[in-house]
Symmetry: C2
Subunit: 322 residues, 2 copies
Amino acid sequence: MDRTQKIIAGDLRAVARIIRDIDDGLPEAREILKELYPQTGRAYIVGITGSPGVGKSTLVDRMIQYLRTQGKTVGVLAVDPTSPFSGGAILGDRIRMQRHSTDEGVFIRSLATRGHFGGLTPSTRGAIAVLDAMGKDYILVETVGVGQDEIEIVRAAHTTLIVLIPGMGDDIQAIKAGILEAGDVFVINKCEREGTQKTRQELQMMIEMDKDRKFKGGWKPTIFATEAVKNEGIDELMTGIEEHRTFLLQKDTACFDRFQQDRARMELFDLVKQDVVQSVMEHLTRTGQWDEFIRELVQKKTDPYTQSERILAHYLRTGDAL
Amino acid sequence: MDRTQKIIAGDLRAVARIIRDIDDGLPEAREILKELYPQTGRAYIVGITGSPGVGKSTLVDRMIQYLRTQGKTVGVLAVDPTSPFSGGAILGDRIRMQRHSTDEGVFIRSLATRGHFGGLTPSTRGAIAVLDAMGKDYILVETVGVGQDEIEIVRAAHTTLIVLIPGMGDDIQAIKAGILEAGDVFVINKCEREGTQKTRQELQMMIEMDKDRKFKGGWKPTIFATEAVKNEGIDELMTGIEEHRTFLLQKDTACFDRFQQDRARMELFDLVKQDVVQSVMEHLTRTGQWDEFIRELVQKKTDPYTQSERILAHYLRTGDAL
């Protein structure tokens, strides 16, 4: 069997290796992803995001547990976009998930933040495609933080969970309007703390105010309260995810079609961005022109806007249709 | 006076307008930025980042207050990368900062998240350049969150503040290693809460462990505790920022030169990324090919990797040097 066949057959070593190769941006990885593409589209992808400290890892652990008792196989990707300098996955394969390490139905990996030219979105999508092609029923993608990157990552998911905790102060209220639009399901974790009811009411109010949800066919986000460390509220949450799945996949075909198109559009856009930028930058670096440009900028002999336009004019031909 | 001259002269209406135009990506804004470029490089830029709820706005408010009593003029940019869907600045010009609204030495603006093709970094840099060219002594750039975008934004700063609060749970400990490398100065705000000493010790330990700091000439990050709502610890913090400024600007010229080069490199890279991607995408959209490609992808007639390579091959000529 070649590497692609091994991945499709679920060979753990082959899967681990391809995810590493994707993260490292190796050209072979890309060729394999091309071959895997026809095998993708079967897994159900759940994105989980939220600020540090809200208990995402514990929640994911409980979700794995639940899905396993339902007989589902699970792939987990922990994406860590917080370390652009060290370029390594800090979280590692989370300690709390270690107990699943002997379960063949669970595959857990962390992704670092390589992908200097295109951000980490393309490598995350690639890793999702691998877990999909290897036949996992559910793929849980956990990201740290609530920035734009994280939201882009979770947009690749069918169902996006936004995890909050009660009483996170004024700032969290301010950003809710932003994350609201990205969330299909809201989870108030650590719900035994004071303020759960207030947070729930505020969320509810914002959902009600958001009359014209354009994304994902007008689904009205739902709210669940969990105490993940005690395994409380998990059944209800998972039922809630299932409800969204039903809505998305069966409500009417136009809704799902648009979702599929949105995903394809994002995926291709991210790749084009990565490929075009990487190609131009590699060329500028190889010819030594890049360093010269930087010198000119520092000396204020030119400005970056004019310089970028020169680069554009030189490298791009936009005359006729492809 | 033309628009550029008005901005340099500090005309508030002209400044507000150009920042809006930059945020909206208007071509005229870019031409003005070219003209402003020679006037930039005088302001001292301080980036402030941290999770929602740590009290960044209050801290920034106190910093403005301090700098004003020192007779310094201050520009403030509140960057909100959390709303890629609504595309608007949610935070507005923060309520807590309103009291500075009658002070001519203070200019406060929020930036939204336009810039569909290149992220919000180029528009933030543009706005910084405007405040710099208008003659502000200090520019405070506040961002919500601790994701990659935010770190890229604060990398444009001379001094980067990472704001924490005591006892944010396990996850914050895990990401510290990532944000550590981005921070020049750490601020433990809300320091009257339990756990300040522990958080300080943990930070200290991680700083000690980080033997080979490559960025910014080997500066060893410092830690300050503040209770911003009570205006406590602000003097010490500001002195700490001044120390870093002295280190950066005077320690040895090689250090500052490298910093200037790093900044120029990031700025040009971000612009090239934005320009190249925008140009290719606009062309694909205009010719209607983009929609066709998406259809083919949804039908799995092709894969996104091959498709992106086709686009690259068509639009890019990388034969000879510029």
